[in-house]
C-alpha cells in the first residue's frame, strides 16, 4: 500500500529526514518510535504533504500512485489520514460543520454523492459511539478550548468519519488518561481491517499493548536505524535508546 524509498526531506535548508525506507502493506500496523527530535512528526507531515518540508530525494508510492505528486487535500481524499500531535483550533467552526465539509469533499472525490444532513448525522451518531465522544464537544468550535485529551479523542473521531486507508497517528496517546487510552485504542482497533493500515508514532510501550503492532521501527537522526517486532518496543522500554544511539553513532564515526 505504502512504499517509501530513500526519502530525504529538509526544512529551511536543514535536512531532517535522511533516507527513510519503509514498506507498509494492507492490514498491517507499524509502530514508529525514537527519541525526541528524531524526525517522526516530520515523516508524518511529509507524507501528509505539508509544504514547508522540501523533499530533496526519494519517492513515496501509495496505492500505486506517486504520493509526493498529490496536493495535501488529494492525499487525504485518497485515504491518507494524519491524527496530529498538536491538533489545530478553528474558532467559530463547529466540529460538525467542519466534518461535514470534509466528508462530502472526500466523497465527491471518490465519486460518491454528498450526504444530506440526516444521513450525515446518523453516521456521526454511529461513529461517536466508537470513541465515546460527547455530542456537546462536537457542537463547540473545533478544538477551541478542548483539553489535551479531548483533542486527541476528536482526532480519532475524525478518522472514524473519514474512513481512511492509511492512518498515521502521531502521539495520539500522549495526553490521554488511562481510561481514554483504552477507549481510543479500542476505537482504532475496531476501525482496523484487512484493507487498511495504521502507522502509530509513540514513545510508550503501553499504547502498543492495546494497538498491537506487526512491526516496530526506531527512527534516529532521520533514519530508521532498527526494525523489529513488538518485542523491540519492550526492549526499548527497558533499556532506553542509548544502546541504539551508540551503535549508530559509532558506526557513523568509523
Amino acid at each position: 500500500m505504502l512504499t517509501i524509498k530513500n526519502l530525504h526531506a529538509s526544512i529551511e535548508g536543514t535536512p531532517i529526514l535522511r533516507g527513510i525506507n519503509l514498506e507498509v502493506k494492507a492490514g498491517e500496523v507499524h509502530a514508529i518510535m525514537g527519541p525526541n527530535g528524531s524526525g517522526k512528526s516530520t515523516l508524518a507531515s511529509v507524507l501528509a504533504g505539508r509544504e514547508e518540508y522540501e523533499v530533496t530525494e526519494g519517492e513515496v508510492s501509495f496505492k500505486g500512485k506517486d504520493l509526493l505528486d498529490l496536493a495535501p487535500e488529494d492525499r487525504a481524499r485518497e485515504g491518507v489520514f494524519l491524527a496530529f500531535q498538536y491538533p489545530v483550533e478553528i474558532p467559530g467552526v463547529s466540529s460538525t460543520n467542519f466534518l461535514r465539509t470534509a466528508v462530502n469533499q472526500v466523497r465527491e472525490y471518490r465519486g460518491l454523492e454528498a450526504l444530506d444532513a440526516v444521513k450525515f448525522l446518523t453516521m456521526m451518531k454511529e461513529k461517536m459511539k466508537l470513541v465515546e465522544i460527547d455530542q456537546k464537544l462536537l457542537s463547540r468550535s473545533l478544538n477551541e478550548g478542548f483539553s489535551g485529551g479531548e483533542k486527541k479523542r476528536n482526532e480519532i473521531f475524525q478518522m472514524a468519519m473519514l474512513e481512511p486507508t492509511l492512518s498515521i497517528l502521531d502521539e495520539t496517546d500522549s495526553g490521554l488518561d488511562i481510561d481514554a487510552l483504552r477507549i481510543v485504542s479500542n476505537g482504532v482497533n475496531q476501525l482496523k481491517s484487512k484493507d487498511n493500515a495504521t502507522i502509530v508514532v509513540t514513545h510508550y510501550q503501553r499504547l502498543l499493548d492495546y494497538i498491537v503492532p506487526d512491526y516496530v521501527h526506531v527512527l534516529y537522526k532521520g533514519k530508521i536505524v532498527k526494525s523489529g517486532t513488538k518485542e523491540l518496543a519492550l526492549e526499548l522500554e527497558e533499556k532506553g535508546y542509548d544502546w541504539i544511539k551508540e551503535a549508530v553513532d559509532s558506526e557513523a564515526t568509523v
Binding site: A48, R50, R75, I90, F98, T101, Q105
Partner: protein
Amino acid sequence: MSKDNQILEELTSKEYEHGWSVNYEADEAPIGLNEEIINWISAKKEEPQWLLEWRLKAFKTWQNMTEPEWANVTYPKIDLQSLRYYSAPKQDKKPKSLDEVDPELLQIYERLGINLNEQKKLQGIAVDAVLDSVSVGTTFKATLSKLGIIFCSFSEAVKEHPELVKKYLGSVVPMTDNYYAALNSAVFSDGSFCYIPKGVRCPMELSTYFRINAANTGQFERTLIVAEDEAYVSYLEGCTAPQRDENQLHAAVVEIYAAKNAEVKYSTVQNWFPGDKNGKGGIYNFVTKRGICAGDHSKISWTQVETGSAVTWKYPSCILKGDHSIGEFYSVAVTNNYQQADTGTKMIHIGKNTKSRIVSKGISAGKSQNSYRGQVQVMKRADNARNFSQCDSLLMGDRCGAHTFPYIDINNSSAKVEHEATTSKIGEDQLFYCNQRGISTEDAVALIVNGYAKEVLNQLPMEFAVEAQKLLALTLEGSVG
C-alpha cells in the same frame, strides 16, 4: 514564498460577479454641481418649495465645508464638478404599479437575483429597487399598507406623506453634519422611506436594493425609517455596481428614528464594485448612517457585511437618548487587493441605563487597509451606561494592514465600558489541517473566515446570512493556495 502569500497572490483571480452594465435610455442632469443643477433635480422630481429651499440651504452649507481627511484612507481628490448628479432610466410615463415598469429594468434586477414580481416572490421580503438615482419599483406595497405601514420610494413619500418627511428629514443627520451628508442633502435623488405606525410589528423584511448602472454618475440616496411607539421593523440593504475603470461616488444618508419601545434592525450587505486587482476603478462609498433611540426602551441594531467598494468611509451610529435604550453595531468588513475601509460606529449615551454593544470583525487580504474607528461617548446625565466593544482583525498575508482606533469619552463615573481587541492571522497550520481532512484551500478559507465572522453573520436574517457567507468566500476566493 509561503503558502499564505501564494493564496493571497491568487486571491485576486476572482472577477467581480456583478460587473456588467446595461444600456438603456436615460434621463440625465447635465454634468456639474451648482444651484442650477439643484433646481433642475428638484423640478424634475416635482418637489414642493420647502424641499427645494432645504436643498439649497444644504448646498450653501456644503460650499463652506471641506472634505474630511482624518480617515485612514488615501485616494485622489474627487472632482465633484465632473460628475452627473441625476440619472434615471427613461420611462414614457411614471409607472403606477410594478406591472407598468419597463420589463428591461426589471430584468436588471432579475439578473442580480432579485425578483420584483410579487407573485413569484416566495421569500416574503418587500423590496424597493433603486437604479442609479431613482426607485424603480416597490413590492408588497398593498399588503403593507393594510397595516398602515408606508414603504415606498423617497420621492413618492415627499408627494404622498410630506408632513412625515418634513418632520423627520434631517432630524437625525442634520445637513450640517459632515461634508458628504451636506452634499447628499443638496443633491439626493431618491431612496426609500419607511414608516411603521404605533404598535405594529412589520410582518416581513423590508429591503432596498441599490444598483449603480450609469457611468460618471454619483449615487446619492436617502433612506428614512421611522418606527413609532412599540413598532418593529427589520430592514435590509443590498448594493452592487458595474465594473468600470473610473471611480464612482456613492454618498448616501440613512436616518432611523425609534420612538418608545420601538425596535429597528438595519442590515446591509454592501458589495459595490471594489475595483480591479490593480486597484483601478471601484466605488467610493462615503456614507452617513445614524439612528436615534428617541424613546425609552427603544433599540436600534446595525449589522453590516462590507465586502465591496474601493474606499469605504462609514460609521453607522446610535444616539441613545431614551432611558434604557439599546444600540448595537455588528460589522464584518473584508478588504482585498487595494481596497481601503475605514469603518466603525459611534455610540452616544445620553439617557440613563443605556446600553451599547459593538462587535467588529475586520478581514484584510492583499494590499488592503482595514481600519476600525469607533467612539463611545457617555454624557453627564447617562447614569449606569454600559458599553461592550469587541474589535477583532484577521490578516491574510503580510502585505495588508489592520488598524483599530477606539475613542472613549466618559463624563459619568457610573459608566462601565469594556473594550477588547485581537489580531490574528489565518495560519498555515489551520489551512494544512483542513487540507489534511480533504478540504480544498478555497473552502478552508471560507470555513475559517465564516467561523471568524460568525457572531456577526448570526445577526442577519436567514436568507441574507447565507448570501453573506457566500459573498465572504467569493471576495476572498483565490486569496490562499
